[in-house]
């Protein structure tokens, strides 16, 4: 999809105890592969905990949920942790409606795993 690179950016920050990927822009069917590539690259570094920060996304649909579910599955298989930052807006409501917030390690702003 042309221009989809510009629609989604991923900022990566390494800490001693975790690796954080902050997603900015739009996460949908067109940009999901970019996010998946970044998550795969982060998983390859085998951090003790991978944190996906979805709070800065302008748009996210069920593809964002797929991204988190796939990352959770990957972390479970590898015996590592996955945490997410959902904020308190639309993204959080979407995860609530889907009934999966309680099945994820959800971090508040500034909170560390």
């Amino acid at each position: 999809m042309t221009g989809s690179e510009a629609l989604l950016r991923v900022h990566r920050t390494s800490y001693a105890d975790r690796l954080e990927l902050a997603l900015l822009g739009e996460l949908d069917n067109d940009t999901l592969p970019i996010a998946q590539d970044q998550v795969a690259a982060a998983e390859a570094d085998a951090p003790p905990c991978l944190v996906l920060d979805l709070t800065q996304l302008e748009y996210v649909d069920s593809c964002g949920v797929r991204l988190v579910l796939l990352a959770q599955h990957g972390a479970g298989e590898a015996g590592r942790r996955l945490a997410v930052r959902l904020g308190h807006g639309r993204t959080r409501r979407m995860f609530d409606v889907l009934g999966i917030t309680s099945r994820l390690e959800v971090l508040d702003a500034g909170e560390t795993p």
Partner: protein, 625 residues
């Protein structure tokens, strides 16, 4: 050209009129200057040839002259200009094949002039050619090659009525004149080559522009046959006088378009076909090319061909009046298959097609062929989508006594209606044994064939489990297990499902609702709207899912609306459509029928997004009557 005649200095000495060497040199210098000037103004090889055979010949004092050009690499000399020869010599020597043992050929092939000072030398050295060389009183002949560096440009022959001793000075003089002509000829050839190159470049540019125009036409939102008709129209008179398009249809080939700028000519062609319809055993160039996939070029259409094709005199007259002079027929090839043929004909314009036109006309045909192929693929995709879609959505909802139901599905974009297969579905089915009806609205994440396959699984699993008599929560648990079995442990896709069991009693309707991660339903009572928040986990990912059954009671006139997130997630200039706007909208539809409510919601979200949906949408409204 208007050039002044060059004064001819006679090299012969006359008695009593002593011409000094200096005077001759002066006059020759002036003659050279004039000749140089005239040659410098001449542009084409023909002009140079004419000046060589007239002005230069007169300057030399020759009584006859023929100037020849040799095309690159060809063993033939072509006369540029011949003068001073009477009888049929001029005609006989218009084209001369190079042949050793003939004076001009020897001069060209050796690069050295051949000097024949009188008839005696002619007979001694070239006995075979002497009768021509000394015909009509000619005696001496000088054949000089026209060369510039290693470029072999042709030859010039000067002929004289009297014997002429070609002494050293004379040879130098004639050689210098020939060199001057050769240089002018060289320049003229370059000039002509440049003109031809420029004309070729312009023709190429026009053809590119035409191809671009044809490509745009092939993308026009018209039926493929209409596009081919317009392509035939576009071709005349831009690149041909007549054009036609034939298509292979099963075992026969059909003409779908024919064009000529003059309607009277078109009428003539129609009359020809009406009066003399083609029989099966008659050959037709376009039909043959469409079948074989092999192009045909006829640079000249010989009259014998027309005569052979005619069945009688009137037929021949009609065929001739079409005026076909040159024809090119190329197949419409795509992926190694011929779909038809494009025919172009030059008639009254006098143009001519050659094998060099095959590339351009082939490109044009390929543009049309790809458009045809795309149309066929689109049609195929449409058929697949329609077939799949019919497996995913009910043709019509069953009649539920005391209840009206309305369901709608819309793909993301209206122009995708025929080819899109999405992951949203709505359904109502009866469980006759228990006297209840099952309602479902579901959304499988993603799109494309894999999503469609999972959507079909959702629909058919629910239908089967309902018929087994399971309650709503049990149905979704069975569905969850089925989806996990289907896709393994990959968590590739999930679904959100709102599902309920509906029973009717004399005072209204009761719906036992479960919600597998689906957006909350809405109940409209009078003009008041209430959300039906039922917590639950999405389906297809986790081995255990949390589900709660909730009872919703509808009194007559009350309505339950279930929908997929394409409604609330619709995006417009004002942000997301969102649950608040949806609640306000549904409240404003108080008293409306189930059909009016689902149509009202669809219209509102379509308008909200300027007519374009981002996601597909499914809606189901149930109203107690």
């Amino acid at each position: 050209m208007g050039e002044a005649p060059v004064r001819v200095p006679r090299p012969r000495r006359r008695a009593g009129a002593a011409v000094t060497g200096e005077a001759l040199a002066r006059s020759r210098a002036a003659g050279f200057q004039q000749l140089t000037e005239q040659l410098s103004r001449a542009l084409t090889p023909a002009d140079i040839g004419r000046l060589t055979a007239t002005t230069a010949a007169a300057f030399i004092g020759a009584d006859g002259c023929a100037a020849y050009a040799r095309r690159d690499g060809e063993d033939v000399l072509e006369a540029l200009h011949i003068s001073g020869f009477v009888g049929d010599s001029a005609r006989r020597f218009t084209r001369v094949s190079l042949h050793r043992g003939r004076p001009m050929s020897d001069a060209v092939l050796s690069g050295e002039p051949v000097w024949l000072e009188d008839a005696g030398q002619w007979h001694a050295r070239y006995p075979e050619m002497a009768p021509f060389g000394v015909a009509e009183g000619h005696e001496a002949t000088a054949c000089l090659p026209l060369r510039v560096e290693d470029r072999d440009l042709g030859a010039v022959v000067f002929s004289f009525y009297r014997p002429r001793p070609f002494d050293h000075d004379e040879r130098e003089f004639l050689g210098a004149v020939a060199a001057l002509c050769a240089q002018a000829l060289d320049r003229a050839r370059l000039y002509t080559a440049e003109l031809e190159a420029r004309a070729a470049a312009e023709r190429e540019r026009d053809r590119m522009a035409f191809l671009a125009q044809a490509s745009r036409l092939m993308e026009a939102p018209l039926s493929v046959e209409e596009r081919l008709r317009q392509l035939a129209d576009l071709a005349v008179p831009a690149i041909a006088d007549w054009s036609a398009v034939h298509l292979v249809r099963g075992s026969h080939v059909e003409k779908v378009a024919v064009a000529h700028p003059d309607p009277a000519k078109l009428a003539l062609a129609e009359e020809l076909e009406r009066r003399y319809p083609r029989t099966a055993d008659q050959h037709d160039g376009a039909v043959d090319v469409a079948r074989s996939g092999v192009p045909v070029v006829l640079p000249e259409v010989p009259d014998e061909l027309l005569t052979a094709a005619a069945v009688d005199a009137t037929h021949l007259e009609l065929i001739r009046s079409i005026g076909m002079r040159s024809v090119i027929v190329v197949p419409l090839l795509v992926r190694g298959r011929s779909l038809g043929a494009l025919t172009l004909v030059h008639a009254e314009s006098g143009g001519r097609f050659g094998v060099e036109d095959l590339t351009f006309v082939g490109q044009l045909a390929a543009t049309a062929a790809v458009a045809l192929d795309n149309a066929a693929l689109y049609e195929q995709q449409r058929l697949v989508a329609r077939t799949l879609q019919s497996a995913l959505l009910p043709e019509e909802l069953p009649a539920v006594p005391g209840v009206s139901c309305a369901g709608r599905y819309r793909p993301p974009s209206p122009d995708l209606t025929e080819v899109y297969v999405g992951g949203d579905l709505y359904d109502v089915h009866e469980d006759p044994e228990r006297g209840r009806w099952a309602l479902t609205v579901a959304d499988v994440c993603g799109k494309g064939p894999q999503a469609a396959a999972l959507t079909a699984l959702v629909r058919h699993t629910i239908a089967a489990e309902v018929r087994h008599g399971l309650g709503p929560a049990a149905v979704l648990r069975r569905l969850n297990a089925a989806m996990r079995r289907q896709q393994g442990d990959t968590r590739a896709r999930f679904a959100t499902v709102a599902h309920g069991a509906l029973t009717v009693d004399p005072d209204g309707v009761t719906i036992t609702l479960v919600n597998g991660g689906h957006p909350p339903g809405l109940v409209l009572r009078g003009d008041r709207v209430a959300w039906v928040e039922v917590p639950g986990t999405l389906v297809g990912v986790y081995p255990d899912i949390d589900l709660t059954e909730t009872e919703v009671r509808l009194a007559p006139g009350d309505l339950l609306l279930l929908y997929t997130d394409g409604v609330t997630e619709a995006r417009g200039e004002d942000g997301f459509f969102g649950p608040e706007r949806l609640a306000d909208l549904v409240a404003s539809l108080a008293g409306a029928s189930a059909d009016e409510v689902v149509d009202g919601v669809l219209t509102a979200i379509t308008d909200f997004q300027d007519g374009r949906l981002r996601d597909d949408v499914a809606l189901l409204a149930v109203r107690a009557e």
